[in-house]
């Protein structure tokens, strides 16, 4: 309500920024030469060309490097929290809204405005910290990080500097099988809360830029990893696992394309055996997990090449951009001195104090996390491939868990979900929560097939019906009269009939064309409307076809 009130008042002010044109004042237009500063927006608008690098090539490069050099990779991830309102005011945030429509005096940094912390931000931070096995600070504070930029309305960002809310954790993940598989554990240095800045949109010809403050004040969690990763794939899997975790927890939708999950990576190489780190290079503009993978591998080989040519001094501490089109990293800003952010404690916000009781209650509310799920599925006897698929999406895992809870066979349930159901979801572009099929009906379906009530083929047909329209297995079986025919006598009768009706084919079969068994089987199936039990049918067929006349 507050934001609506302000919006109406704001648009009446002639001096205020209106959404369509920036800074057009009576006295002129602001010119900003900022073409050198590439933005995530600009890059994201280019459609990413999908380039598939076969895994084997990556493995080769990694192994060549592995011989002499070791890469050291650390990742800083910003997760945009999906709270209803921003971190310090009651503005709602929706991605893609018209520019400057989700703002108020507080997130705009108007004179006299003050921040008030959204307690949900703390809850999300504590959830994530517990999920990543971190140590929580019983008392932490906010600090001001000061720098000037048009997308930072107050001229400072409210963040946490020396006393973050969580430190010292770890994350467990399993590498995909196509990259060699294996379990990894990477350290987490810290997690802290901060607010996001607005967005700058640069005009085509670079003659002016526009400020959209919708995103200013949106809560972020910054997660800094230990420099434990060694390859591009480890780094991209780390990012993917973070995405999995934040989605499991429901604190963020973790979408790299929308900017709710952003990763900056730091890469350095050193000769194997050397204790000190090499010069580290930061890479920005990574918009997908595969981009993380490829960018890091490129950068590693770039640095290794320089080393092997004796030019390691030309590796400077800088920020480089990943260019998706050219598939390489390029220098963004040369001569980056260390920025002085003049941190000091935020005087407008009180300390954040956590009680043990609060931490415990949040801990109890956590769902089973991906790592725990994976280990549990492994113990159930599922293959790693199945485990990775099922545990990837919490909704899918929940569906699976619900199905086997109704008694369904674990492997069969996995197969149905990974096969036919996944294909349907992909075709219809749905999520598993959107389908009409419910877990206990899937269990029912599996049981019906297992018991022989219906055949596997019929089962697939029923599944399609259930996915699209819902209903019950029992109901559909009755409605469409799909019960499998298993009675030996009935089948023999049908087989006899079909054989009698097809003397020519019988002749051909008896003279050697044994492949015609399939034809007879098909005919019986047709006659029985698909209900004949295939196993029994084929047994009977073989008997009768081969019988001495």
């Amino acid at each position: 309500m507050a934001s609506t009130l302000f919006r109406n008042v704001i648009q009446a002010q002639p001096l205020f920024l209106n959404s369509s044109a920036l800074l057009r004042r009576k006295n002129g237009v602001l010119y900003c030469t900022m073409t050198q500063t590439a933005t995530e927006e600009k890059q994201q608008q280019k459609s990413p060309q999908k380039i598939k690098v076969p895994p084997q090539k990556q493995m080769k490069e990694v192994s060549k490097i592995g011989a002499d050099y070791e890469a050291v990779i650390g990742i800083e991830t910003h997760v945009q929290l999906s709270t209803l309102t921003k971190a310090f005011c009651s503005c709602p945030y929706s991605y893609g809204a018209q520019p400057n429509t989700c703002i108020c005096p507080v997130c705009m940094g108007l004179p006299g405005a003050l921040p008030v912390l959204n307690s949900k931000v703390i809850e999300c931070a504590v959830k994530l910290a517990l999920a990543l096995n971190c140590r929580l600070s019983f008392s932490s504070k906010f600090d001001r990080k000061q720098y000037f930029y048009p997308d930072l309305p107050k001229g400072y960002q409210i963040s946490q500097f020396d006393i973050p809310i969580a430190t010292g954790g770890s994350i467990d993940l399993d590498l995909p099988l196509e990259f060699g598989g294996g379990h990894r554990r990477f350290g987490i240095t810290r997690i802290h809360m901060e607010e996001d800045a607005g967005k700058l949109m640069h005009s085509g010809n670079g003659s002016y830029s526009q400020v959209d403050l919708n995103r200013a004040g949106v809560p972020l969690l910054e997660i800094v990893s230990e420099p434990d990763m060694r390859t591009g794939i480890e780094a991209s899997e780390y990012a993917a696992e973070l995405q999995r975790v934040v989605r499991y927890l429901g604190v963020s939708n973790g979408n790299m394309q929308e900017g709710s999950l952003r990763c900056d990576v730091n890469v350095s190489v050193r000769p194997i055996g050397q204790a000190e780190f090499g010069t580290k290079v930061e890479i920005k503009n990574l918009n997908s997990f595969s981009a993380i993978n490829r960018a890091i591998d490129f950068e590693i080989s770039r640095q290794v090449n320089l080393h092997s040519q004796g030019q390691q001094d030309s590796i400077v501490q800088e920020t480089r951009l990943w260019e998706e089109g050219a598939q390489k990293t390029v220098t963004m800003r040369k001569k980056e001195g260390l920025a002085d952010y003049r941190y000091f404690p935020e005087p407008d916000l009180p300390e954040v104090v956590l009680t043990k009781a609060y931490m415990d209650s949040v801990g109890k509310s956590l769902p089973e996390l991906p790592e725990a799920k994976r280990r549990r599925y492994e113990e159930m006897g599922l293959s790693m491939q199945d485990v990775l698929f099922l545990a990837n999406d919490i909704a899918v895992a929940d569906f699976f868990d619900a199905t086997i809870q109704k008694g369904a066979d674990v492997k069969l349930a996995a197969n149905w979900i990974m096969g036919d159901i996944a294909a349907y979801l992909k075709n219809e572009k749905l999520s598993i929560n959107d389908i009409k099929l419910v877990p206990h009906e899937l269990a029912e379906l599996i049981a019906s097939i297992k018991s022989g009530t219906i055949s596997g083929k019929i089962g697939k047909e029923i599944l399609f019906e259930l996915l699209a329209k819902g209903g019950t297995v029992k109901g559909l079986i009755e409605e469409k009269d799909l019960v499998q025919i298993t009675d030996l006598v009935d089948i023999e009768k049908m087989v006899d009939k079909v054989i009698a009706e097809n003397p020519k084919q019988l002749e051909q079969y008896r003279s050697g064309k044994t492949k015609l068994q399939g034809y007879f089987a098909g005919q019986v199936m047709k006659a029985s409307k698909g209900k004949a039990n295939p196993g029994i049918l084929n047994k009977v067929l073989v008997e009768k076809l081969n019988a001495k006349v």
């Binding site: 002010q13 920024l17 005096p105 507080v106 108007l110 003049r342």
Partner: protein, 470 residues
């Protein structure tokens, strides 16, 4: 405070008994050095039982409810006095054009019989310091960088006073963003002290103090970070109250030093200031530093309670060298007076007292360098069109800010910069804790502590100008 005693000898030039119709007397020659020849304030301020000056706010209320004067008449007389005195005083940066409309609304309400439901501040003219946001009037903070800026919201203190029936008569002059102690640091105009037009009213709430002192309004809002309500009140001979940090919401107060700023009240009597404070205080969900502790509720501010047995501590370090002898003797007279009334007055020594000013300068400059970063000409305020981003920031701020503000921003930036944070800001915070502890200790053995509000009377204009370019 000494100046609130309002004993007849100091205010004899302001006759307090009036006829009911206010006839402005002819103004004397323009060389008048004070306002003694101007028409007196409109209402008879009847004496209360204890001999203390009556509350103007209560007098207004009584008169409105009894029908002896309408809110419109009252507003008109204050406005005409304001117009007559402004050319000499320049207390106001902006005068509201909706005063009579608001007054009419109050009269309509009374006419409909809703008199008893009137807020406690009904019909009371209030001056608001221009660093406090008002939605229907420009709020400049005394700075050119916010020339013509109109906030889209009211400060909580303003909202509350309006809810209680107060009428905002205008925005008063101040040192730019609250930085200064004479109001000569305003980006717009210089305000004069009503007692002597060649002297400053004090600062930074100089306009608020002079407006109340000259009866251009009944009460006013100021802000106090390092004395900016108390010192101008002393210089202009009115009551100024700096509440405890967190008592009044800071939402809508343009931040100078976030951990020190408070909104304070000025008025002609302690009772008025108390009523006014009560009206604007209380927890505000828009200010995370506002206190949830409940207020003193029903205090009869006119009730006369004996002071006998009250333990008063006079802070010795505030009467050292550098304090005018006139001030010292006034304090001593006050001490004698209190003793006559039964107080037990002792000297108290607070050795850390002298550390207050240097610690304040570090903390206030540091916090202000951060709080004033938002004034960059990008989203609001005055912008100097430039070809390139850094030039935009540099030129807008260079041309918008005055020299005192620039100096404090530079000092504060330096104090917070890498390598200096520990030596300056952190050290100053530690000193602050020491000072706080020593005050707490002194208050264990004393009920109240007293000191002069300022070491001298109001300075002559131009006396304190610092040369920034020498």
């Amino acid at each position: 405070m000494l100046s609130t005693l309002h004993s007849p000898r100091s205010l004899s030039r302001f006759p307090l008994h009036l006829t009911s119709s206010v006839k402005p007397r002819a103004a004397s020659a323009s060389s008048a050095s004070s306002l003694s020849d101007y028409p007196p304030p409109p209402l008879p301020a009847a004496q209360s039982p204890g001999g203390a000056p009556a509350s103007q706010i209560l007098t207004v209320r009584r008169s409105l409810l009894s029908g002896s004067v309408t809110a419109t008449q009252l507003a008109e007389s204050y406005l005409s006095r304001l117009r007559l005195t402004e050319p000499q005083l320049n207390s106001f940066i902006h005068v509201s054009d909706s005063v009579l409309k608001s007054a009419q609304e109050i009269d309509d309400k009374i006419a409909k019989g809703g008199g008893e439901a009137l807020g406690p501040l009904a019909g009371v003219m209030v001056g608001v310091k221009d660093n406090i946001c008002t939605a229907d009037m420009p709020s400049t903070g005394g700075s050119r960088i916010l020339e013509n800026y109109r906030p889209p919201f009211d400060a909580t203190a303003v909202k509350r006073l309006k809810e209680k029936g107060g009428i905002v008569v205008g925005k008063t002059n101040l040192d730019e963003f609250g930085m200064g102690s004479t109001t000569e640091g305003s980006g717009f105009q210089v305000t004069a002290n009503p007692w002597d037009l060649g002297r400053v009213p004090g600062g930074s709430s100089g306009g608020s103090a002079s407006a109340v002192s000259a009866r251009q309004c009944v009460v006013s809002l100021g802000s106090d970070t390092g004395g900016s309500v108390r010192q101008p009140a002393s210089f202009c001979g009115v009551v100024g109250l700096k509440p405890t940090y967190g008592r009044v919401s800071r939402f809508g107060l343009m931040a100078y030093a976030s951990s020190l700023d408070v909104i304070g009240c000025l008025g002609t009597s302690v009772a008025d200031v108390g009523i006014f404070l009560n009206a604007i205080s209380g927890h505000d969900k828009f200010d995370a530093t506002s206190s949830k502790q409940s207020l003193f509720t029903s205090i009869n501010l006119l009730e006369s309670k004996p002071l006998s047995g009250l333990k008063v501590g006079l802070i010795r370090e505030t009467l050292d060298d550098g304090v005018d002898s006139g001030v010292k003797s006034a304090i001593n007279a006050a001490v004698l007076h209190m003793q006559e009334l039964g107080c037990i007055v002792n000297e108290v020594s607070l050795p850390s007292f002298s550390l207050g000013l240097p610690a304040y300068y570090i903390l206030a400059s540091s916090e202000s360098s951060s709080n004033l970063s938002r004034y960059d000409g990008v989203r609001y305020g005055k912008q100097t069109v430039s070809d390139e981003l850094n030039a935009l920031y540099a030129n807008s701020r260079a041309s918008g800010f005055g020299p005192e503000v620039k100096m404090r921003i530079l000092m504060g930036t330096y104090a917070l910069s890498a390598g200096y944070y520990d030596a300056y800001y952190k050290r100053a915070q530690q000193v602050r804790t020491l000072i706080r502890e020593s005050f707490k200790t002194a208050l264990e053995t004393n009920d109240i502590l007293i000191s002069p509000a300022a070491p001298s009377v109001a300075y002559k204009m131009g006396m304190l100008v610092v040369s920034y370019y020498s």
